[in-house]
């Protein structure tokens, strides 16, 4: 009898783990555990599971900073959006490589424009991978919405023409922003990740807006010095229409700067982003002059 009991115990011990009915395998309300499971699922590219776990956790606590940050990361990863996309766009804007085969763009705007004489017109939507980015617009916007409440005001409420000066100097309360982020319930690594994802999402969103979201004919020019210029029928209207996009670019730059200088990251990436921001802002004739 005892032998049977011993063998039965052994059999249970051996078979139970094979049943797949791991006792904690279902949903759990512990946010830390949910995030850990979701991270593993994301890393294994099981995005359905990661998203389901995080949306469930968000239903229970919509204000949870770690859940919001991780869901934003999952959405971006699910769409395959990363700094490769950013690099491809930057390269395309600067020198035209990474462009999809397409007919050369001609000037679409009416009237005169200072960029038209020296610049080469191009179509910003012809960068390789643009359709995939465009198709990810909903996820990009959701990622921005998820991280927005986590961002300190100094990263979102600023003057695009003075907080980020033309020479690349960033004037904002970096220390205050870092302190506020540290008090948000996120670890340093989570903050760094969130800021990077936020910056990427805002860059892409801004690019989609200025390349497809204008209500008037506009022409992008690639200038010999690597900068860009945008000409439109109504320059004043262009400034107004691009203002939200430029603000998003600014938040992206400040996010990267806070990440790099307060939480560890590449400052050359910040410099590159700042240059890109300045290029686009200055490429919109009268953007700062009109403020």
């Amino acid at each position: 009898m005892t032998i049977r009991l011993a063998l039965a115990t052994l059999a249970v011990a051996l078979i139970l783990p094979l049943t797949g009915c791991d006792e904690t395998g279902g949903m759990t309300s512990d946010a830390t555990t949910v995030i850990a499971d979701a991270q593993i699922a994301r890393q294994k590219r099981d995005f359905d599971r990661a998203e389901a776990l995080l949306r469930g956790a968000l239903d229970q606590d919509a204000q949870s900073a770690p859940v919001r940050a991780e869901l934003a990361a999952t959405l971006m990863a699910r769409q395959g959006l990363d700094i490769l996309d950013l690099g491809r766009i930057a390269q395309f804007v600067i020198d035209g490589t990474s462009g999809a085969p397409a007919a050369p763009a001609g000037a679409a705007h009416r009237g005169t424009c200072s960029f038209a004489g020296t610049g080469t017109p191009f179509n910003p939507t012809s960068v390789v991978g643009f359709p995939a980015i465009m198709a990810s617009r909903a996820q990009i916007e959701e990622a921005i919405a998820l991280t927005a409440p986590l961002l300190p005001a100094s990263l979102t409420s600023f003057d695009a023409c003075t907080a980020i000066a033309a020479d690349g100097t960033l004037v904002y309360d970096r220390a205050g922003a870092a302190t506020q982020l540290r008090a948000s319930g996120l670890t340093n690594a989570q903050i760094s990740q969130m800021l990077a994802n936020n910056a990427l999402a805002r860059f892409l969103s801004a690019y989609l807006t200025v390349s497809t979201g204008l209500s008037q004919q506009a022409t992008w020019y690639r200038m010999p010095d690597g900068s860009v210029g945008i000409c439109a029928d109504d320059p004043d209207a262009l400034v107004e229409q691009t203002r939200p996009a430029v603000a998003r670019l600014g938040t992206a730059v400040l996010s990267l700067d806070t990440r790099a200088r307060a939480f560890g990251g590449a400052t050359d990436l910040v410099d590159a982003a700042t240059d890109a921001f300045a290029d686009i802002r200055e490429g919109i004739t009268g953007f700062c002059a009109s403020i």
Binding site: G80, I83, L84, G87
Partner: protein, 415 residues
Amino acid sequence: MPFRPMLRTLALGAVLATCAPVSAQTFGTLNQDSHAGIVDVVSAGMGGAVAATATPDSPFFSNPAHIAGTQRLGFTLFGATAGVGGNVRETYDFYDQTLGPAIEEGLDGIRRSDPDRLQAIYDEAFRIGTSQKTADVAVLAPSARMRVGRVAVGLGLFGSGTARAKISDDGGAGIPFIDLYSQADVLVPLTAATAVPGLPFRLDVGASATYLQRRLTAKADAIDALDPDDEKVYLFRGDGLRLGLGAQAHDVGTPGLDVGLALTNVGGALDMAFDRSIQIEGPDGAPDDLAEIARLEQRFDARGSAAAVRVGAAYRVPVRVPGVSNVTVATDYTSASTAEFGQSFQAGLRGGATVTLGGAFELRAGLSQGMPTAGAGVRTRYARIDYATYGVEDSRLLGQQSRRNHVVQIRVGLF
């Protein structure tokens, strides 16, 4: 140029992802201190069941009561253990067939000519880098066991080194995140046990005290946070005692049925203090990053280290087949997690069997955390060599992040 830092970051990440060294089955993390011990190769082959069946290392690290079985002087003069695991082959194939040629061809050129291919390489590097590779080594310095009257005692000196590295996309926006952790231990376990008289069955009880000197370092950052011109790793050191208690009852209810119970790793997490820095990149004499040191020390001090409870039963099957002996089946439950998270009950189950053939060859098989294990050994009076393959769950739930390991051990002494 905006794309250059990105490309450099990605290239470095892709390379690191594939040469990511390692983790070991007894590693600690930034969240949890690891237990004091080395890989028990013999028990690993039979599913990790060890509470009620003794192995050469079990008296020191698993159940102190097992030393009570010592009848005469025995010792290990020296020995060594080496193990490897995880998706090592897949990693090698990826490097050999995909990443290596791509680097040789030039990642920048691929980015320009075939961005989809670069994206695919990038994604695959992450997939492979996230899955852990393992390697571990242990040195078995002299250890001895003997009987002094009614008490059996054992004293040993062990050294072990483990390291872990994982590359994920947790840096955000696809920026690689490096999670490095390495640990070197010196362990001096003293264990003693005796049989409790006056019981209807034999009951051995034992206790152990292990002096543990641990050195460790960690690096957990997005790859672009690492400074290629000035990067250091910071070594921390801690000392302490880990205590253990154990009991083993023999022939409980029926001949051959043994039951074991052990409480080990009592003593809490070590208090780690900064020891010294090691320059990885940059000039010697560069100042230490005090902020990084403070962050690491804070994290190491905040770690937990729970005591482990292990309970199990073993049945020595009576076999009367010539050349076949020591047939034992065993099962355990252990509360010790193999991950940095708490794990489910099922993840604590172990079970397996062993058989000795011809008096010198041992075969073992079992299941550990739902994964099959196997092992073999050759045993003589003066030397033994053992091999085991077994699975480890690196995450919270079975099947989430499973890892297969292979480990071999050789020891010379008097057994």
